[in-house]
Symmetry: C2
Subunit: 339 residues, 2 copies
């Protein structure tokens, strides 16, 4: 019986070579430490890093809500709406580039973006972020300790980004039904999910959504797995405004980057609706239909969609319990503007 299970396990490994997530890649220039992770968590939940003290990283990438916000697009200070869906922070450490258009080559680089984006946290400058942090003794002490600084003047935006990125690298969900299946537990996936697993290979989805993160092979940071979307025009282009945003072109201004996007992960895709860069598609089955049509020119049958969705549901991992950080106090001043 054990040998039989073992053979079945081998068999499943052959069927889907995507495999299990490796250890989180950690850049040499930002080694992990417990103190750095804790500091990063504090900063991640720190609304006073936004101009009016209302928005933290967690506001849009809500760790408690599967790492996103359930909205079509993010909302920043003063209720301002962005124009792209907030990607989940969980497992973002496995993305080789960050943001929908891949314009950041690392979590460190990404972390700096929203701070000064006028429709997100809207700080007037990176220096303004540092000025605030330098007013809070507990942050100063922690930065000094974590980064071996002698003076508080030495705190830079890169230290802020490094601490936040270190915390984000701890946000990993493993042990999804798919992972248990890969390890040999045949019962972890329903018959429908198992058919879906085969289908995503046969239909061609995994030519882009490959590897254990289902976002392209390899984990080398800064490498990037980009794809044009939509690749083929269809009724969906207009219906979901898929071409309104020029994607990577906005960053590079190169014609070949028009409508190019980072291939997003499938991990936890069932619990991070809505879908696509503009959050225009609300359900996973519709997202599957749209992708098959726009990327592979295929009209999937109802049952195929059901099986693929069943498989995608199996990629929802276990979200480890998180302890809340405790934020340092300002005494004698308010960090954010008074009325």
């Amino acid at each position: 019986m054990k040998i039989f299970t073992f053979l079945l396990g081998l068999c499943s490994l052959v069927v889907h070579s995507q495999g299990l997530l490796p250890e989180v890649p950690v850049p040499k220039e930002n080694p992990m430490s417990a103190e750095k992770i804790e500091l990063g968590k504090m900063l991640y939940f720190e609304p006073r890093l936004s101009v009016d003290g209302t928005i933290s990283c967690n506001s849009c990438h809500n760790v408690m809500a599967n790492g996103a916000d359930g909205r079509a697009v993010g909302v920043g200070v003063k209720g301002q709406r962005g124009d792209r869906k907030s990607p989940t922070v969980w497992n973002s450490a496995y993305n080789t580039v960050q943001f929908w258009d891949g314009r950041a080559e690392s979590l460190e680089e990404q972390a700096k973006g929203p701070l000064t984006n006028p429709v997100e946290m809207a700080m007037p400058s990176e220096q303004a972020v540092i000025d605030r942090i330098q007013q809070l003794d507990e942050y100063v002490d922690r930065f000094k300790k974590v980064f071996s600084l002698k003076k508080k003047k030495q705190i830079t935006i890169d230290h802020v980004a490094k601490a936040i990125a270190a915390y984000e690298r701890t946000l990993v969900t493993g042990d999804s039904p798919y992972d248990r299946f890969v390890k040999g537990d045949q019962k972890a996936l329903s018959a429908s999910a198992q058919r879906g697993l085969k289908l995503v290979g046969e239909v061609g989805c995994t030519s882009c959504h490959s590897g254990p993160h289902f976002a392209g092979q390899g984990f080398e940071q800064g490498q990037g797995h980009f794809q044009m979307f939509p690749l083929i025009d269809s009724e969906y282009t207009e219906k979901y405004q898929l071409k309104k945003d020029l994607g990577r072109f906005n960053e590079t201004k190169k014609d070949e980057d028009k409508h190019m996007w980072r291939v997003p992960t499938w991990r936890n895709i069932a619990v991070t609706a809505p879908y696509f860069h503009n959050g225009s598609v609300k359900t996973l089955d519709e997202a599957v239909r749209v992708m098959a049509k726009t990327q592979l020119g295929q009209d999937l049958e109802k049952k195929q969609v059901e099986d693929i969705v069943a498989f995608l549901n199996s990629l929802t991992g276990e979200f480890p319990a998180q302890q809340m950080p405790r934020l340092p106090l300002s005494s004698g001043f308010t960090l954010t503007p008074d009325p």
Copy 2:
């Protein structure tokens, strides 16, 4: 030696009869349960209870930041500013009435206020809150279980308020240096803090800030300990705009309620700056000076202020670690308005 310590302990009990916080008062109509507390925690951290999905209870009463927001006044949806300082949620279960003007007789009643306040969470109606909750299966299941409901139609705003209040009743900080001192640990308070402890009685502060919560004797819910502020006009009235807000009068429209306020707790006062209903005073020493002058007609000496502040610092308790809740997902729809 042990007898000596014991006698010293007795002695300290005589000096300050305020004593230790009792068990949290729990109303008969809202008994605590682990499931109710967890549901309440989820709702407390649920930004989708605000009109645009940006503000939760925790936004202004930040559990991670000693239960408040460090701002002069709260900030609601679209960056709108309120006109009163957000009181800390920690130990709010000991307040016999809620809000600065005491207009809510219980945590349950308080919890409903911000949901539909147009400058806070700005939901169009309490029914709109329920409509959102009823769309999320996990909330529906939890409400049914916690309140023994048969149908999701039976969920009411009172259930929401009860769950949130149950969670808030768990937010208690004990074991402050003062508490350890009361228990007999003479070293828990510095000589200055011990002088301050005597002074707050001699000067007259504890005629209002009495009892173990330092907010008036007794814990009977709905009872209320009100005081006029400022009681005596001084240079501070104008400087800190202390009479701009009519306080309890705004609610009752009775002349005798002009400038009447709930006596706020001293627990964690050193870590919940700024001070007073309008957050106009930034430091604890200035708050002490203002209170002595406006309530007792006294100009304190510098050393007296220092000693009282040292004592007030000893009322900062231990904040128990909090595990983050996990918020339920919306699939196929966004709970908040799309762009």
